[in-house]
C-alpha cells in the first residue's frame, strides 16, 4: 500500500536522546511510521530498542527530542495514547494470583473496546486454561495471554518488543499467524504494527519497512522490497583467477580460487553489468534477506582467503 503522507503518522520520533546517567542509550534517533504499516525495529541487544519503546509508552521520559504517537505527546496525553495502542513486552508480567479468566477481565476493564469473539477465538486457538493461575503458565502461554489482551482491545497500534524470543518454534509460528490474521483482519489499512526483534527471519514477510538501530542511532531505514532489490550477493567464476578486481559499488567478501563473492548495497543491476564486463564464466545474483542485510550492515565484511 502506498503510505498516505498527509495522514498523521502512527509514530513519529525526532532526534530522540535518552540517557541513563552518563550512558546514552538512545542518541539522536528519528523515525516515522505511517498508519497501516508493519514496521520492523531491528538492533542487537542493548542497541536502544527497548528504551525507545519505553519512551513511546511514557514509561521513560526523553532526555531530549520528541516522541509522538498519533500526533500526541505520550507524556501529556497518556490516556488517549494508551487507549489506542497495545504493548506486548519481552518479559510478560501478570498478577500471579489471578487466573487467566480473571486476567482477561482485568485487562478488559481498562479498555473502551474489547472484542469478546476475538478473545474467545484466540483463547481456544492457544488452548489457554481459563481457570489456571498466571503464575502456573509457561513462558509461551504467558506471551500468548499477553497477545490476547493486546488484540482483543483492537488497538490502532500494536507494539511488540522482542515478542518471540525464548519461545518454541510452534508458538512463534502461531504468534505471527495471529498478528497477521486476527489483528490485521479488522481494519487492515489502519492496523499498525511496530515490532522490535533480532529474530528477523520470522518476521520477514510481515515487514513493510524497517529501521536498523545501533548504539542508539539509526543505521539504515528502508522499505523491505527495496532493501532486497538493493542488497545482493553476486557470485562470479572466472576462467583464470583475477589478481585484483576492483568493481565500483561492490565489495569482495569471499574469495575461493576462481570464485569471487561480491556484496552489493546499491544498484545491483549496474554492478552486475560491471562485473560481467570482466567476462566471468558464470555470474549469479541473490538478494540478501532482511536478516542478512542486518548482519552485513552492522558488521563490516572481511575478505576471507
Amino acid at each position: 500500500m502506498t503510505p498516505m503522507t498527509a495522514e498523521t503518522p502512527a509514530i513519529e520520533i525526532v532526534n530522540l536522546v535518552r540517557r541513563y546517567g552518563r550512558t546514552e542509550a538512545v542518541n539522536g534517533l528519528s523515525l516515522r511510521v505511517e498508519p497501516g504499516r508493519c514496521y520492523g525495529f531491528f538492533g542487537r541487544n542493548g542497541a536502544g530498542k527497548t528504551t525507545t519503546i519505553k519512551c513511546l509508552l511514557n514509561l521513560l521520559k526523553p532526555t531530549r527530542g520528541s516522541v509522538r504517537v498519533f500526533g500526541r505527546d505520550p507524556a501529556r496525553h497518556e490516556v488517549e495514547v494508551k487507549s489506542r495502542l497495545a504493548y506486548v513486552p519481552d518479559q510478560v508480567a501478570f498478577y500471579p494470583w489471578m487466573t487467566v479468566a480473571q486476567t482477561l477481565e482485568y485487562f478488559a476493564s481498562f479498555r473502551d473496546r474489547w472484542n469478546r469473539d476475538t478473545e474467545r477465538l484466540l483463547v481456544d486457538r492457544f488452548q489457554l486454561p481459563l481457570d489456571r493461575r498466571t503464575s502456573h503458565l509457561s513462558k509461551g502461554q504467558r506471551t500468548e495471554l499477553a497477545l490476547v489482551t493486546a488484540i482483543a482491545a483492537e488497538p490502532d497500534l500494536l507494539v511488540l518488543d522482542e515478542p518471540t524470543s525464548g519461545l518454541d518454534p510452534i508458538v512463534r509460528r502461531e504468534f505471527i499467524r495471529t498478528v497477521i490474521g486476527a489483528y490485521q483482519e479488522g481494519a487492515p489499512g489502519r492496523r499498525t504494527v511496530f515490532v522490535s526483534t533480532h529474530l528477523i527471519a520470522e518476521f520477514e514477510g510481515l515487514i513493510d519497512e524497517f529501521t536498523i538501530i545501533d548504539h542508539g542511532r539509526e543505521v539504515l531505514t528502508l522499505d523491505a522490497d527495496t532493501a532486497r532489490a538493493r542488497y545482493q550477493k553476486i557470485y562470479a567464476r572466472f576462467a583464470s583467477p583475477p589478481a585484483s578486481l576492483a568493481v565500483e559499488g561492490a565489495q569482495i567478501v569471499h574469495r575461493q580460487g576462481r570464485e569471487l563473492q561480491f556484496l552489493v548495497s546499491g544498484d545491483a543491476g549496474a554492478v552486475k553489468a560491471r562485473i560481467a564486463a570482466h567476462s566471468p564464466e558464470t555470474i549469479e545474483a541473490e538478494a540478501l534477506t532482511l536478516e542478512e542485510i542486518f548482519v552485513s550492515t552492522l558488521q563490516a565484511p572481511e575478505v576471507r582467503a
Binding site: C38, I180, G181, Q184, G205
Partner: protein
C-alpha cells in the same frame, strides 16, 4: 494453487504472488472461474503481511487476470484483457528485453535463446493440455 515465496529472488513479494497466479493461469493449473484463496488464510499460510496479498490481488484485477465478486471472493477471468494490443505488446517487450539482457550476461546466444523460448511455449502448451484432460 500453491504459492512459494523466495526472499532471495530480490523481486517484490507482492509481484511474486502476481507472477505465480499468472503462471498458474498460463499453464492451466488455474482455469477461468476458479476461485483464488481468500486473503487472510493465504497471508497466514505464507506468513506475509495481509496488505501484500491485497496489493497482489489488486494488481491482478487491474491487469484483468482475476475479478472480485462482492461477498464471494476473487476468481480467474476468461482472460479477455482490458488492455489494447499495442499496450500489451509494450508490456511484454519490457519483459523480453530483460530476458535478452540476462541471456547476454549468461552467455546464451541468440539461437539458443530462441530455441529455449520455443521449448517453453511447448512445455506450457503440454501442461495446459494435461490440465484440461484432468
Amino acid at each position: 494453487m500453491v504459492f512459494e515465496l523466495n526472499y532471495k529472488s530480490g523481486k517484490p513479494v507482492y509481484l511474486q504472488v502476481v507472477d505465480q497466479v499468472k503462471a498458474a493461469v498460463a499453464s492451466g493449473a488455474a482455469r477461468p472461474g476458479d476461485p483464488l484463496p481468500s486473503i487472510r488464510p493465504l497471508a497466514e499460510d505464507l506468513r506475509v503481511n495481509r496488505n501484500t496479498i491485497a496489493k497482489a490481488y489488486g494488481e491482478l484485477e487491474s491487469q484483468g487476470v482475476i475479478e472480485t465478486v462482492v461477498g464471494k471472493g476473487c476468481f480467474v477471468t476468461d482472460q479477455a484483457s482490458p488492455l489494447r494490443k499495442d499496450a500489451r505488446t509494450r508490456l511484454l517487450t519490457a519483459e523480453v528485453d530483460a530476458a535478452v539482457v540476462q541471456a547476454h550476461h549468461l552467455q546464451i546466444a541468440r539461437a539458443e535463446f530462441l530455441r529455449l523460448a520455443e521449448e517453453r511455449f511447448e512445455s506450457f502448451a503440454k501442461r495446459r493440455a494435461r490440465a484440461s484432460q484432468g
